[in-house]
């Protein structure tokens, strides 16, 4: 408890460089944040435990563990190349972990891929659409893929389309949409599924302020119905206001996680805002 912060962080930086697996003892802020998670013990919607993985044999993620509870919005924060997208790709089942386990409400993808995927709705960072399908057909395809009740799903969809000002573009092809519009299509498709876990990769860039606001309202509403959201982002001030908890990734490892007040308590000298905490965390490696 008596360590000065500067010394503490330097030491952490050193140890991560020398040996990734052996965790340094006596890192007050680090341990506290992890411990607080274990004390709560709620139902986990998403549980990522000791995942090692990446695109090739060389692991990008080095033993990552975190969770997202029911009705919780967790922000996945990290620099470019920290491993956010890799983490997300593992969660949505695009990549298979070398080691470790990912489960959604107790189901892993190996046990039942259908049940696993059924619970996820994914909004990619760069919108991807089927070039040959119109907007209407994309929505229909989503209904079919998730086996939704068509009438109910269309009701939700029409509401969402109206919110995001796409209602009159149902017969358009993706080629005619701007990037922001494509992103809205992704949002509509994801949120008409009533999934239990939403995975949203950097949603705020490319959307107009009105759409950002609408999206945040939508997330709030879904949280109230018990859905969980894992969201990666660089827009820290928005994340600070809306996320319940943060997972700070750095160099393929979870540097720390917790609520904003937990992070503040762990890093009292770093500053008040998430931005300050984040910057001080990344300084560890730069120093």
């Amino acid at each position: 408890m008596n360590f000065s912060l500067g010394l503490d962080l330097k030491e952490l930086g050193k140890t991560t460089q020398v040996n990734n697996i052996q965790q340094p003892k006596g890192h007050v802020w680090y341990n506290r944040a992890v411990n607080s998670k274990e004390m709560k013990g709620c139902i986990m919607a998403l549980e990522v435990s000791h995942v090692v993985g990446g695109y090739s044999q060389i692991p990008v993620l080095k033993d990552i563990s975190f969770d997202v509870k029911d009705g919780e919005l967790v922000g996945l924060i990290g620099l470019n190349g920290a491993g956010k997208s890799t983490t997300i790709n593992h969660v949505i089942g695009l990549l298979t972990p070398h080691k470790g386990k990912i489960s959604i409400n107790g189901v892993t993808i190996d046990q039942d891929s259908q049940a696993y995927k059924q619970q996820i709705a994914y909004i990619p960072e760069t919108p991807v659409l089927y070039q040959e399908l119109t907007l209407r057909e994309h929505l229909e395809m989503t209904i079919m893929a998730y086996d939704l009740d068509a009438d109910k799903a269309w009701e939700t969809a029409h509401e969402l389309l109206k919110t995001f000002r796409l209602a009159n573009k149902l017969d358009w092809f993706p080629a005619n949409f701007s990037k922001g519009m494509k992103q809205k299509v992704m949002i509509v498709c994801a949120f008409m599924t009533q999934a239990k876990l939403y995975i949203i990769d950097e949603p705020f860039l490319g959307l107009d302020p009105l759409a950002v606001n609408d999206l945040l309202n939508l997330i709030e509403a879904r949280k109230k119905t018990g859905a969980s959201i894992l969201m990666s982002t660089h827009v820290l001030d928005t994340a600070q206001r809306y996320c319940d908890r943060f997972v700070l990734l750095h160099d393929g490892q979870v540097k720390t996680e917790g609520t904003l007040s937990e992070l503040q308590a762990a890093l009292p000298e770093a500053g008040e805002s998430l931005n300050d905490i984040y910057l001080s965390m990344t300084k560890v490696d730069r120093a």
Partner: protein, 408 residues
């Protein structure tokens, strides 16, 4: 900057050489020789029967020369990234463009000279021109083409009123006026006019380019279109990765999809069917092969040959359809959707069965019409049914499973 162009030209020529080797394979060269030989023979026969002083002979010459004058575009070889990376070098780009124009001259002027060479006997017979007159006209044509390329170069700069000068209408009009004066009056006049125009364009560019900005976007678009045209041509002979199919709405074919019920198990049939109909890549392939097969079968008679040919075409179509299964692999939702891979494969098999059945039916109808023989018709039908069943239900899933295993 001229070095940059030289580098790019080398890369470009190497690429073209690679494709040209594929285009001019032995078979094609052989066919081309026959074709040209036939054409030459026809031309010499027409020349023999031609009389001097026909009213339409200068018209024919004019049409040929005006069209040929448009051939040979300004090849700048500039790339999309140039508008960012070369922006600070904008003034120096002029040297690059001049180098590009010099290179473009070569191919374009070769075309002009060869055309005049081919046209020379016609001019001498139909118009009773001397060799000197023909030579003067050839020089006029070359100078005219030179002024066109200068115009293209000038249009790389942003000048008010410039847009109109580089328009195709302007070029056609210029070519018609100058060449008509040469053909009906005297080639000397055409030469003088061409030189005046060429000098005027050169002088005007010289005075203006330093004060103007380069129209990067337009130039890049023009170059992209030029390259796309070349790649399209190559694509007729071999796979060219730069040419990707386009997508057409084809609303008039929407009735095809009405029989596909929006069921969970048919999610991918929904996608595959629309992708097949609206994309031009695979549907074009299927239609082309079916039509060629039908034409061929229409002219073929016999007991076994039609059966064999029909089977061959069905195999070709079925084989070419296989890669369509992976068409949507790079759309992340293909992997994220909670749909079992078995459903995806089943949907694909259904689609292949349907396409092959329709193609087989069409081929069979042609066989029946062409031969009008019970035995051949029956044999073809049996072979086709067995083949479609085997290709779609057994071969396709096996191949795709193996490809999947190889990837993993």
């Amino acid at each position: 900057m001229t070095d940059l162009f030289k580098d790019r030209l080398q890369r470009h020529l190497r690429e073209m050489a690679k494709y040209l080797r594929l285009v001019f394979n032995d078979f094609f060269v052989f066919a081309l020789l026959f074709f040209l030989g036939g054409l030459g023979l026809g031309y010499s026969n027409i020349l023999k029967s031609l009389k001097t002083g026909l009213w339409w002979s200068p018209v024919v010459a004019l049409i040929v020369l005006v069209i040929v004058a448009q051939i040979g575009r300004f090849a700048t070889l500039i790339e999309d990234a140039d508008r960012v990376f070369l922006l600070p070098k904008e003034r120096a780009m002029h040297a690059y463009f001049v180098a590009a124009r010099r290179y473009s001259q070569f191919l374009a002027q070769c075309t002009q000279v060869i055309t005049l060479f081919i046209l020379a006997p016609f001019l001498s017979v139909a118009l009773h021109w001397t060799v000197g007159k023909i030579l003067i006209l050839a020089v006029a044509q070359v100078v005219l083409k030179d002024s066109f390329l200068r115009l293209d170069l000038a249009s790389a700069y942003q000048v008010t009123g410039q847009r109109r000068m580089n328009q195709w209408g302007f070029k056609w009009l210029l070519a018609i006026v100058i060449l008509a004066s040469g053909l009906w009056l005297t080639p000397y006049l055409a030469l003088v006019l061409a030189v005046v125009v060429d000098a005027a364009v050169a002088l005007w560019t010289q005075q203006h380019w330093q004060k103007q900005q380069i129209r990067w976007r337009e130039q890049i678009k023009i170059e992209d279109n030029r390259m796309l045209g070349i790649y399209r041509f190559f694509n007729l002979f071999t796979e060219v990765p730069m040419v990707s199919g386009t997508i057409k709405r084809r609303r008039y074919l929407d009735w095809l999809f009405t029989c596909i019920k929006p069921k969970h198990s048919q999610t991918y049939l929904y996608l595959f069917s629309r992708g097949m109909v609206r994309g031009t890549d695979f549907s074009g392939l299927v239609v082309r092969l079916t039509v060629i097969g039908m034409l061929l079968l229409y002219f073929v008679r016999g007991q076994w040959l039609p059966v064999f040919l029909a089977a061959l075409f069905i195999y070709l179509i079925g084989f070419q359809l296989l890669p369509f299964f992976q068409q949507y692999d790079d759309v992340v939702f293909t992997h994220v959707y909670p749909v079992l891979p078995e459903f995806r494969l089943k949907s694909f098999v259904k689609l292949v069965t349907l396409i092959l059945s329709v193609a087989a039916l069409l081929l069979w109808i042609v066989v029946v019409i062409a031969n009008f023989q019970l035995e051949t018709a029956g044999l073809t039908l049996i072979v086709e049914v067995v083949e479609v069943w085997y290709l779609a239900r057994i071969y396709t899933p096996q191949r795709l499973a193996r490809a999947d295993k190889n990837k993993a």
